[in-house]
């Protein structure tokens, strides 16, 4: 009896030892082999393996070379994409980023408003979003610094504590209890603040902005705000990024060839066709377009819906995939770390059951820094069956 018990205990111990091994192989794989992966140019490429090492992508190899080596995880029929990047997020900070006391407030940091332990971050991970840009609400002319952070719960999640400087043009900035109350007032104020900064006066962050040491993101409500931003900030090394979701497709004429990134979105199904066609129209003129989703206020799948609608109304699918990954990373100023599957980038990957631009594609698993942070076992089972 005692010998039997010992054998049972030994067997149990062996089994228990075996389990963590297989679990850790899925948790931190050495390579991922999937049906297709999204290359840096946004196209779907089959038959490759993504080799990971130390939390980063170390190389892309033909799938056959990697085979059944230790630590390799297979997702047959699936698509691997860089983790999605939402440029218009209020994760962990819904309502906490709105202040309209001062029209020019460059020292505000959105980082201070975020509850990093909020459960919405887990929901974002399950939607495939691995990096977010949280902005101070664009209700001031100079609204402050945005923060770029990953959705994973770790100490090194903040990529840029002091991200782009957010500026805003349009009616959201006007108030009845402080200047400005109009567009003409906004632009007169912006000109005087930039002139003072050029002379070396005023807030240090504004001086850094005009000298080119700081990137800027300008929210534009109407096409006339886009014109004004380009005119007033022409010699301020920027603006680097414009946020515009409107129906005036002829802004492409002024933006073509400048290198300014345009953030479009979020898109919803009830928007006018002209507005939905904007992303495609800009992209066709080789203007870099990033798409924004608005998690959590616009819903967990808003970023993918925006991309799908953009493609439906004329955007090239490869450009749309870049718009929610690599171009979005460029707009946030973190393209060296995230946004594409290439050697040296962080291993932030999302495994989709199909092309992520298809709304019927499901998230199977999400990796951040090479560690799996989300897995939908039931979806994986049905994906491997189908």
């Amino acid at each position: 009896m005692r010998r039997l018990r010992i054998r049972v205990y030994a067997l149990a111990a062996l089994v228990c030892c075996g389990l963590p091994l297989s679990a850790s192989r899925a948790q931190s794989p050495s390579a991922i082999v999937a049906g297709r992966y999204v290359a840096p140019d946004g196209t779907l490429v089959s038959g490759k393996a993504i080799v990971l090492s130390d939390g980063r992508v170390s190389g892309i190899k033909p799938g056959g070379e990697v085979g059944e080596a230790t630590g390799v995880v297979h997702y047959p029929n699936a698509v691997v994409m860089p983790g999605l990047i939402d440029l218009r997020s209020t994760l962990g900070s819904v309502g906490a980023t709105v202040t309209s006391k001062k029209a020019v407030d460059p020292d505000i940091c959105a980082f201070d408003a975020v509850d990093w332990g909020h459960r919405d971050f887990a929901i974002a991970r399950s939607a495939g979003i691995t990096t977010v840009l949280i902005v101070p609400s664009p209700v001031n002319l100079v609204a402050g610094r945005a923060v770029v952070a990953k959705t994973v719960d770790s100490d090194s999640r903040v990529l840029r504590r002091e991200g782009p400087m957010v500026l805003s043009l349009g009616p959201a900035v006007w108030r009845y209890d402080r200047e400005p109350t109009s567009r003409s007032g906004s632009l007169a104020m912006l000109r005087s603040v930039l002139d003072a900064a050029r002379r070396g006066e005023g807030p240090p962050r504004m001086q850094a902005l005009v000298k080119g040491g700081l990137d800027s993101m300008v929210y534009c409500a109407e096409a006339m705000d886009v014109d004004a931003a380009l005119r007033v900030m022409a010699d301020v090394a920027g603006p680097n990024v414009l946020v515009y979701t409107g129906a005036d497709l002829d802004v492409a004429d002024e933006l073509a060839g400048r290198g300014t990134i345009v953030v479009v979105g979020p898109y919803t199904f009830d928007m006018r066709p002209r507005v939905l066609a904007l992303a495609g129209a800009l992209s066709k003129r080789d203007i870099p377009v990033a798409l924004a989703g608005g998690i959590p206020e616009m819903g967990r799948d808003s970023l993918r819906m925006t991309a799908a609608l953009a493609v439906r109304y004329g955007m090239d699918p490869a450009a749309a995939r870049r718009a929610i990954t690599s171009v979005a990373a460029q707009a946030a100023g973190v393209a060296g770390r995230v946004g594409s599957i290439a050697p040296g980038r962080d291993a932030d990957l999302v495994i989709f059951s199909d092309d992520p631009l298809r709304l019927d594609a499901r998230v199977l698993a999400v990796y951040e820094g090479g560690v799996r942070v989300y897995a939908d076992q039931e979806a994986m089972r049905s994906a491997s069956r189908g």
């Binding site: 003409s184 906004s186 632009l187 007169a188 109407e222 006339m224 014109d227 004429d253």
Partner: protein
């Protein structure tokens, strides 16, 4: 060689030279030239001349030749209106462009739209004082009249972000904002510009709303064409307001009543206040120019002071908006005090100040002509002594006068204003310059626009009859040689 033979050979040489010159002037368009030819029954040049059966040749956006016998290049496009006429494009010297055209909420019922347009407050709150109580004589409150009991409407609370705010584009954080520019708040894509172009207006001075005592600097823009060529001048004349609009338009200023103080609790609430704010701004600018400190109530911001000093130095032209005689005389008084030549705008009662206008050499941008005051004007109470022949009186006295339709469009627009002017007994040759050459000169564009003469920009209208007649419309409107409106093919 005798002299006769010499003369003969010289004559032949001259004849040959003459033939060569004629050949060159009749040469076909060279490759790359964009040539358009317009033909009509009569061309009204804009300076009083009318040329019968004239041909206008436009080359590369400029008028190359005008006349009855002008040689026409063979490969040019031809626009012909045998029963019609050609005039210069109309120049609107005081346009107001609706800033909310694209931003307006979907139209509600007619009463709401009317209220919004007339700057009425929310009807449910109109009789309430700022502390929430109701004036005991609320039933006597009448639009345009001030209540002697509670001071309504000056003391009523204003809806913070209400219907007033949206329709006024000028900066309202201060009554003195000459550092701001209308162009910054102007939507060049507004459908209002399409309406102007279809009405024959090709160039417009867009004025700020009359909400600030010293307001923004206006913009001179073309009404259609490629976006890169729309802006003619980014910051032109500054507009000062002498009329009650300074304290009634947009967010009305209010007196501090008990503890209720808002952004708009400020001067002016009366005409005395308007003059005070103007004087204080100019005195402070003069003090700042001498390096003296500026202080006290209503001190302009540093940016405003810099702009005011530019105005005092004469670098920025000044327009003064006034309707009633006393406001026009205020304009003269302030102009003399600070040495500021000005242009009078609107001038409803200008017929009562003809002597001063003539002796002061003050140009007038007059308009619109009306019997019943349109829009918000009727609620100012300043149009009671309006006369339909004021424009005729101004021209008759020799005052340089441009005619303006301000915010009126389509069937009430500038072309119709010219018709009304002719109805009071003026001829086309007297009225046409008032909507073409005179405003062009007032805007400093007299070399480029305003008449159909060789060398000027091809901003032209082809009418399907006599210009401004009730049965005529602008069939073809051309800006810089480009056809921007073409009604010919239905």
């Amino acid at each position: 060689m005798n002299e006769k033979a010499n003369l003969g050979s010289w004559s032949i040489t001259l004849l040959a030279a003459g033939c060569l010159l004629t050949m060159f002037s009749a040469a076909p368009a060279s490759a790359g030239d964009d040539v358009v030819v317009l033909k009509a029954g009569v061309v009204h040049v804009g300076d009083g001349r009318a040329i019968e059966h004239a041909v206008v040749v436009v080359r590369n956006g400029r008028i190359a030749a005008v006349g009855p016998d002008v040689p026409v290049p063979g490969d040019a496009r031809v626009i012909e209106m045998a029963e019609g006429s050609i005039t210069p494009g109309l120049v609107e010297a005081n346009a107001w462009v609706d800033p909310t055209d694209l931003l307006a909420p979907p139209p509600a019922d007619a009463y709401t739209i009317l209220n919004r347009f007339l700057h009425h407050h929310d009807p449910g709150h109109r009789d309430m004082t700022c502390c929430g109580s109701r004036c005991p004589r609320a039933y006597l409150h009448e639009a345009g009249k001030k209540c002697p009991i509670c001071g309504w409407p000056d003391t009523a609370p204003r809806m913070a972000v209400g219907t007033n705010v949206g329709r006024v584009a000028v900066e309202q954080s201060s009554e003195v904002v000459p550092e701001t520019r209308v162009l910054d708040g102007l939507n060049l894509r507004s459908p209002d510009f399409g309406r102007l172009a279809r009405g024959g207006v090709t160039t417009a001075f867009v004025a700020p709303d009359t909400a600030a005592v010293i307001g923004a600097r206006g913009a001179i823009v073309r009404t259609a064409g490629p976006m890169s060529q729309r802006v003619v001048r980014e910051a032109d004349a500054v507009q000062a307001v002498m009329s009650s609009d300074a304290f009634r338009r947009g967010q009305n200023n209010n007196l501090p009543m008990r503890h209720f103080v808002t952004f708009n609790t400020r001067r002016p609430v009366s005409r005395m206040g308007v003059d005070w704010v103007f004087r204080k701004a100019m005195y402070d600018a003069q003090r700042a120019g001498k390096g003296l400190p500026v202080s006290g109530a209503d001190t302009p911001s540093p940016a405003a002071l810099a702009a005011l000093r530019e105005i005092l130095s004469g670098a920025v032209p000044v327009r003064m908006h006034a309707r009633t005689q006393n406001d026009i005389l205020s304009a003269f008084r302030l102009s003399r005090e600070f040495g500021l030549p000005f242009t009078l705008v609107e001038g409803t009662e200008a017929y009562r100040c003809l002597d001063q206008l003539v002796s002061g050499h003050v140009p007038v941008v007059f308009g619109p002509i009306y019997v019943d005051a349109p829009g918000y004007r009727v609620y100012t109470g300043e149009t009671d002594h309006n006369r339909v022949n004021t424009f005729k009186a101004l021209l008759g006295a020799g005052v340089t006068t441009a005619l303006s339709a301000h915010e009126l469009r389509d069937e009430d627009g500038l072309a119709r204003q010219a018709l009304y002017a002719m109805r009071s007994g003026l001829k086309l040759e007297q009225v046409l310059p008032a909507v073409t050459a005179t405003p062009a000169k007032l805007l400093g564009l007299g070399d480029e626009l305003g008449t159909v003469e060789s060398g000027k920009r091809a901003d032209l209208i082809v009418w399907n009859g006599e210009p401004f007649a009730a049965t005529s419309t602008p069939e073809v409107v051309m800006i810089g040689g480009e056809v921007v409106v073409d009604r010919r093919h239905g």
